[in-house]
Symmetry: C2
Subunit: 254 residues, 2 copies
């Protein structure tokens, strides 16, 4: 049995709480948070508290708060005997000052309220300073995921950057495409089979080999027509810059 | 029975040929192309020809060649009685000069050599000038796809632009993420569950509501760290521009 206190009440806290609660060898003893209404989500299944002086003893304290609040929350755990970890992609291990038992438990996924996640396929990136703590994190991570990896702070920082490209920026491209469709009274759904194929191709091809389109062919005529179609200044700039980057990648100069 | 001659030997020609060949009410009589080695793909299942004076009679001529070659290929069909269509996203219907029976048969999908496509879910965008021709295209399209739509030349032009964003540009973001992973000796596959979730979210949310990340939050500290991590000038510019576009979309100025 691994006993856990979760600090934080956001999306990551909720999703971790739910998956841990389904597991008979994990006991979430308590959830701490500053926001009483958010705490109510956890109320029937664990102790809840807004007061950091009331924190219970546990094997593991999981800090799942916004990046800039991590150091402050970590300070409230200085006298605890358990291992203290955060769940952030971009915060280094050593941001957990004053804790000598410290680590990271970073699930590489985008969590949204109300969307269920199959944790079995979520890569869990763990890091710890000593072997015993690493073993505990390995055991916990493997109990919920089939993809557990030991990842250094530097590697994790790069993963977080890469995640911004494949998730945040990709979604913005979808948003632009959505607006282009709306202008012509076309439903965005008409693009979804293409979107799915763009991703499914990656099972077979690396992105370099999967690239197609006017920029790769350096098809200036089509690029010119497309730029002319775009009225929004940002979207026009994005089209031009991404086309330039693709063309140069394939040895051509726009 | 609908009789068809396909003009062209590229990816679209191959994929259409394969799906038509599986259908008992469609007969691909002939495939024409300039490239003898590409023609060999079709050899055992239809007549093949490199000579446009040898084209057979058919209900429908499908021009599946590169955009700039469409007018020239269309001219070789002036004396044919059948309907002449092209398969391009960006070429207007009236580019098929001198044909009074003309139309468009545009499958909105990215076709790669060797990758099988489930045509049932591929949106087929059709256009024709007269009702009888439209009926023929409807019948043909519905025999291979569950998603057939009448789309004007203007709408198709916008769809093609939107497709560049969700396919070509999205793939380039994957390529950048791949390079970031390689620098840290991490496999790109670690990002795939996140990539899949980015797309699966669209079944439930519009892109505007699915957006997350530092740019939406206007988290200048994280943005600054990420920009510092990127060494490639194009990738740095792409990060800055996409972040600016996202922040402005959510009412913030970077």
């Amino acid at each position: 049995m691994i006993s856990i206190v979760i600090l934080g009440t956001g999306n990551v806290a909720e999703h971790l709480f739910d998956v841990f609660s389904d597991h008979k060898e994990i006991c979430v003893r308590q959830v701490w948070g500053r926001n009483r209404s958010h705490l109510s989500y956890f109320r029937d299944r664990a102790a809840i508290s807004e007061d950091s002086s009331e924190l219970l003893a546990a094997d593991l304290y999981i800090i799942a708060v916004s990046d800039d609040a991590i150091p402050e929350v970590a300070r409230t755990l200085i006298d605890k005997k358990g291992l203290v970890v955060h769940t952030s992609g971009s915060v280094p291990l050593n941001a957990l000052v004053n804790n000598d038992k410290r680590g990271v438990f970073y699930p590489l996924q985008s969590f949204s309220k109300g969307r269920e996640i199959d944790f079995k396929s979520v890569p869990i990136c763990i890091e710890a300073e000593n072997k015993e703590d690493l073993e505990l994190l390995l055991q916990l991570a493997r109990s919920i995921s089939d993809d557990v990896r030991e990842i250094s702070s530097d590697q994790r920082k790069s993963l977080h950057l890469a995640a911004v490209f494949v998730n945040n920026f990709t979604n913005h491209l979808f948003q632009i495409a959505n607006e282009i469709c709306e202008e012509q009274r076309l439903p965005f759904g008409i693009l979804l089979p293409l979107v799915r194929e763009t991703v499914q191709k990656l099972d077979q091809l690396v992105p370099f080999d999967a690239q197609t389109g006017p920029a790769k062919r350096n098809d200036q005529e089509t690029i010119g027509i497309h730029l002319h179609q775009l009225k929004n200044k940002n979207y026009k700039d994005i089209y031009a810059l991404l086309s330039k980057s693709i063309s140069e990648k394939y040895g051509q100069k726009l």
